[in-house]
């Protein structure tokens, strides 16, 4: 069952003395067909795949992921396409972690219960909704729980001790530590600061801690992998799509290459 799957991902990585690679792409970007191929490429290297649900108003995202949402919606991507893509990845990688990520209104429009049901049927392990904080997550978490889906929580540099505790208490699967005060794709904060935060989160919660937002280079990824349980790469992967717009094979090749490089940076065997 899916609760186990995320856990096994992290355990597997731990066993390999490395951090998990958590890779993000927006579903349906640049169109559903190509997106499926891209997700399969991503799934070759990533331990956990974050599938972004496109939204018209992605206010927590920078230009790169905003553009991904726009391309996806312009190509006509609907939620059934998102679930189809999810299921396709699930079939190809039965052991991978899969997390659906997105904004509240998309889930709300479907109805939380129906959304959770579809997500579970599509083989997702967890869901991360950027704009549903613990305070508003009662109904939503209940729906996820009913379908054995993890509710992933974000913790930010601005989160107070109380809020970290709240996150630790209400989250499952893993905690996503936001490595900067800002939107996706901005510049990552100082590694030493992030490390301090992650260490203290480890003390507060038994959950794995993944770090993301702003990680763009192999060096950054490597330095974060040294202490985090997982490293999330988003904008950096997404940018392959914009860079090779109109040339699917080049797009796939570029993504494959950069995914592999990031996977390598997770530091097989190098973790203390």
């Amino acid at each position: 069952m899916s609760l186990d799957r995320l856990q096994s991902c992290f355990e597997r990585c731990k066993a390999e003395s490395r951090a998990a690679l958590v890779g993000y792409l927006t579903a349906g970007d640049p169109n559903p067909a190509t997106s499926e191929k891209l997700l399969h490429v991503l799934a070759k290297s990533a331990d956990i795949i974050e599938i972004g649900m496109p939204f018209s108003d992605p206010m927590a995202d920078g230009p790169s992921i905003q553009a991904a949402s726009e391309r996806s919606l312009a190509a006509g991507t609907k939620m059934h396409d998102v679930f189809h893509l999810c299921l396709s990845v699930r079939k190809a990688r039965p052991e991978a972690g899969i997390v659906l990520m997105g904004y509240a209104n998309v889930a709300y429009a479907m109805g939380y219960e129906h959304f959770a049901e579809q997500a579970a049927l599509a083989g997702a392990d967890g869901v991360l909704i950027v704009d549903i904080p613990p305070e508003e997550s009662g109904d939503f978490d209940a729906a996820l729980k009913a379908h054995a889906l993890h509710s992933i929580r974000l913790v930010a540099p601005t989160s107070s001790v109380q809020r970290r505790e709240l996150a630790a208490k209400t989250a499952s699967g893993f905690i996503y530590y936001v490595s900067l005060t800002g939107i996706t794709g901005a510049e990552m904060g100082a590694v030493s600061d992030i490390r301090t935060q992650v260490d203290s989160l480890h003390n507060q919660s038994g959950l794995p801690i993944c770090v993301g937002f702003g990680i763009k280079t192999v060096e950054q990824a490597r330095s974060v992998a040294a202490f985090a349980d997982g490293v999330v790469i988003g904008s950096h992967f997404v940018s392959c799509i914009a860079e090779h717009a109109g040339n699917e094979s080049a797009m796939l090749a570029a993504l494959d290459k950069t995914c592999a490089a990031m996977r390598a940076a997770m530091g097989n065997g190098s973790k203390p």
């Binding site: 939204f55 018209s56 108003d57 992605p58 206010m59 927590a60 995202d61 920078g62 230009p63 905003q66 726009e70 919606l73 609907k78 939620m79 904004y103 509240a104 209104n105 998309v106 889930a107 709300y108 429009a109 479907m110 950027v130 704009d131 549903i132 904080p133 305070e135 508003e136 929580r153 974000l154 913790v155 930010a156 540099p157 601005t158 989160s159 107070s160 809020r163 996150a167 936001v178 900067l180 005060t181 800002g182 939107i183 901005a186």
Partner: protein
């Protein structure tokens, strides 16, 4: 002179729950990064609200700087022309900067000062909120960046100049439809990154808690004054109170202090080219509940929850959502809805200009259009109170274009 402070009620009535919910609406649907800053803001707001010296300074500025109380004007000539109910205008168009928006920015600006913030940001549609923000930023010597959709910059060009002359930076927003919702997205993105040094001055009764409450409280002076003025000038309260709704700040400002009276409250949405198609901005009449910009409220969205493009001739109403408290009042049956199309708003604009010598904002013209329609079916001893939320100077270009005149040509030459 001798302005009467007693008309201002400092008690917070009809407060949301602790999480900022008005019934099922509202709340705090924000990114985790903002939850800390929002809690800090909430605490600061409540503390300042109880602080007499803060309130005294706010009221002093509202009176000596903004020009409150604004008059209540009986539009006799218009009413007579219509031949029905008496139309009474609350003259927010006479405030400093020309719209009600400044009531709120004075409040939030003072709060930003109190919280030691050195920079403010804002989103703006019609530019009125941007101007009002740039204005208080200049007065309080704070840095100011205003996000504005490029389409709105075009239709409200004079307000862009005004902000720049006040020392603010206007940042064009190209994503989405280049209107208010996109500007709000960009402002939120800025704030997520800058919340430690920056105060985000939201321009309407929307956004995550405590914004809807806070903005309502800052605008409640409108209705409090109007209520007292009605009693003084006419010896009675109006039968109906009406306001246009973009996000709902001028509506809540007028209607909130009247909600416990036996008065019909009406919110007027922008019907653009008509409610049938998609070219309007009537979130309550044509939308359904959803989550956007930090709160649960009525939205214009497609079946998948994607936010729809909206249309209104008035930039300030061109927004796919509405303040959560309005949604709650509507569902509770305390708020009636009406709408006006672009054409009806323009007609109301002309009608008021010609009968009363007042050029209303195109936003306010929507409320007027609905009031004129309603008045026609009422008796001359009934009374409709309309919030004239702003003046129309910012809309001259738009209106002249519609009326088939090339603005530049008119300036250069014609008789």
């Amino acid at each position: 002179m001798n302005k009467d402070f007693r008309m201002y009620d400092m008690e917070i009535r009809h407060a949301p729950d602790a999480g900022g919910h008005f019934d099922r609406f509202g709340g705090k649907y924000a990114a985790e990064t903002l939850m800390g800053p929002l809690a800090e803001l909430e605490a600061a707001f409540y503390a300042s609200w109880e602080d007499e010296s803060f309130q005294a300074e706010r009221l002093r500025l509202l009176q000596q700087y903004v020009g409150r109380p604004t008059p209540l004007y009986h539009a006799e000539h218009l009413s007579r022309a219509i031949g029905g109910a008496q139309i009474i205008l609350k003259r927010e168009d006479l405030t400093h900067t020309g719209a009600h928006k400044i009531n709120n920015t004075i409040g939030q600006g003072l709060l930003a000062q109190r919280m030691g913030k050195k920079r403010v940001i804002a989103e703006t549609g019609a530019g009125q909120h941007g101007v009002a923000t740039a204005t208080v930023a200049a007065m309080f010597d704070m840095q100011c960046d205003v996000y504005m959709g490029r389409e709105d910059m075009r239709r409200q060009a004079p307000n862009v100049f005004r902000m720049e002359l006040l020392g603010a930076r206007v940042i064009p927003v190209d994503c989405g439809s280049g209107t208010l919702k996109d500007a709000l997205n960009e402002a939120l993105r800025d704030w997520v990154a800058s919340c430690e040094t920056t105060f985000y001055i939201i321009g309407t009764v929307a956004g995550p808690h405590p914004y809807p409450l806070m903005v309502r409280q800052y605008h409640a002076v409108i209705g409090q004054e109007a209520r007292a003025q009605c009693l003084e000038q006419f010896g009675r309260l109006p039968d109906v109170a009406m306001a246009c709704v973009g996000g709902g700040s001028n509506a809540m400002g007028l209607l909130h202090p009247l909600r416990d009276d036996d008065i019909r409250l009406v919110a007027v949405e922008a019907a653009g080219h008509g409610l049938d198609g998609d070219e309007h901005a009537a979130s309550m009449l044509a939308g359904r509940p959803g989550i956007l910009h930090g709160n649960l409220t009525y939205l214009l969205e497609d079946a998948e929850g994607q936010i729809k493009g909206t249309h209104s001739i008035s930039a300030g109403l061109d927004y796919p959502g509405v303040g959560p408290e309005l949604a709650a009042m509507y569902e509770a049956g305390r708020l009636e809805l009406d709408s006006a199309t672009d054409d009806q708003a323009l007609e109301a604009f002309s009608r008021l200009a010609h009968t009363e010598g007042i050029l209303p904002a195109l936003e306010s013209s929507h409320a007027l259009a609905a009031a004129m329609r309603m008045a026609a079916d009422m008796s001359p001893d009934e009374m409709i109170l309309v919030n004239l939320s702003g003046r129309g100077d910012k809309d001259l270009d738009t209106v002249m274009q519609v009326f088939g005149k090339d603005a530049k040509a008119a300036a250069g030459g014609a008789a």
